[in-house]
């Protein structure tokens, strides 16, 4: 019964994703632009020193691969938050939430389904990067799966949590400005944190408190067959907190959507 329900949610997400093929293209264009244009421009300007998990000097393109994988999932997490708001406005959310299944199960199913889509996009991105000769270690592409799943869940949960706060579709631009961009730029996705620390100590600490930094580091280490315990712990704990808060947020008795779903 639970399985059928999960498959239903997953199918719906996949169907929606398939019907919006332009979404895949736009999800890939963004990181590819960073990889091809931005990284090429900064290749000479930013020297990347040897920091774990790397064992030798790397080009800037190689450095930003994990960060760009993270950003694909960040946007996807926010996209599913947008679709939740859309569903709520269109009324199709009622259909989902009136299912006899427990609501936390429905929400986690939705998260997992979103995570699957995120990971599909990331692997499409890895494939294109590989064709552009920007590659990680061969085994890394397999070992990174758990790290990608956890990151997708973290960012999906964050999106879900945000969607419980957003009343209208129009507010989504605010999410972009106040969540996506700060999370992306104030992290280790585009530049190593020691580089950040050279210019500003407090910016460095903001980056350290950004869970996205730890998710990106988790992916980075996994791509080279290494496990970053601290990053895994922070990502895992944040995922649990965001998921719990989102479930709380969608609880009709207590949460933020009490009035809207009821009315």
């Amino acid at each position: 019964m639970y399985w059928t329900c999960f498959v239903g949610v997953l199918k719906r997400e996949l169907l929606r994703f398939w019907q919006q093929r332009s979404r895949l293209i736009s999800a890939l264009v963004r990181p590819l632009l960073w990889l091809v244009v931005f990284a090429a421009g900064f290749r000479a300007a930013l020297g990347v020193a040897i920091i774990p998990p790397y064992e030798t000097y790397i080009t800037y393109e190689v450095y930003i691969i994990p960060g760009l994988a993270g950003v694909i999932m960040l946007f996807n997490g926010m996209q599913s938050s947008l679709s939740m708001v859309y569903d709520r406005e269109m009324g199709s959310m009622k259909v989902l939430l009136t299912s006899p299944m427990p609501r936390p199960f429905l929400l986690v199913s939705k998260l997992l389904a979103g995570a699957c889509i995120s990971m599909l996009q990331v692997y499409a991105f890895f494939a294109i990067a590989w064709l552009l000769e920007v590659e990680a270690e061969p085994m890394g592409y397999l070992l990174v799966i758990p790290a990608l799943l956890l990151t997708a869940l973290l960012l999906g949960a964050l999106g879900l949590l945000l969607s419980s706060f957003i009343k209208q579709l129009e507010n989504f631009a605010g999410v972009m400005n106040f969540v996506v961009f700060p999370m992306f730029f104030l992290s280790s996705a585009l530049y190593p944190l020691w580089k950040m620390r050279e210019s500003s100590e407090w910016l460095y600490w903001i980056c350290q408190f950004n869970p996205f930094t730890h998710a990106v580091e988790l992916i980075r280490f996994a791509l080279y067959g290494q496990f970053n315990g601290q990053a895994a712990l922070v990502t895992g704990v944040c995922t649990l907190i965001f998921t719990s808060l989102a479930i709380w947020g969608y609880d009709p008795k207590r949460g933020m959507v009490k009035r809207k779903v009821g009315g």
């Binding site: 090429a40 290749r43 000479a44 030798t56 000097y57």
Partner: protein, 318 residues
Amino acid sequence: MRLLVLAAGLLTALVSQAEVAYVSNEKSDTLTLIDVDKLEVIDTLEVGMRPRGIIFSQDYKYLYICASESDAVQVMDLATHKVIHNLPSGEDPEQFALHPNNRHLYIANEDSAVVTVVDTVDRTVIAQIDVGIEPEGMAVSPDGKWVINTSETTNMLHWIDASTHELVDNTLVDQRPRHVEFSKSGEKVWASAEIGGTVDVIDTASRELIKKITFKIPGVHRDKIQPVGIKLTDDGKYAFVALGPANHVAVIDASTYEVLDYLLVGRRVWQLAFAKEQSLLFTTNGVSGDVSVIDVEDLKVIKTIKAGRYPWGVVVKP
């Protein structure tokens, strides 16, 4: 029985003894020793001032070290890692080459525009040959007939007859020739020009230029492309050229002279050495103070290891 086990143990230890890379650090006056299997630093040895060129005797009993600012070539006993004596070397020795007879050492004396020939057994200078200004690169042909010296300011390769110790001919190359290397057969000579940014391949018999190789790395200004160290694989497949402050090693098809790839290594890559039957290539990176290791088959940099200050030369003891 115990003796037998001990002997067997010793034998295995001897047989499986790892190769060791010796790296000269010109600013910390030391040699860094790297275990080639583990790719880890295993020892650091104090030597004379500003060690640059280093070379093994052919039986790997001794290591000759150009201690440039001590104006000496030091001889290190490899069994004890102690400097046992100095050889007379002339002023400011930078690079040198050992004749296949394992006895005559040809030393380029940068400040005095001569090549000094030293007998390593008698520890005497047997000849001094006038060459161009700022002599630098040195090589002896595999058959021991020719000695080539490059002079940085005169921009020439000087051909010295090894039997008479006389300068026979000069070949003009691009600006600031730094290093010269014979192919395994001795038929070709590869010479790098640091400021010219080129590598010339010259026919040994006719001393004519066969090919001038140029380099272009996307995102790196051409002034930074300064070829220095050269190494050729014995199978004639690849030539590797260290490109100095371009921080890359160029991979060249040694038969077509086409540049196949540029591999990112540390800053100011200077000299190169093969290890493990030419399956690995070590590079010294002066400014970043480390040694990068290239997998020759995959043409990938697999690791970079911290060395002393300004690593200059590298040789590998099998």
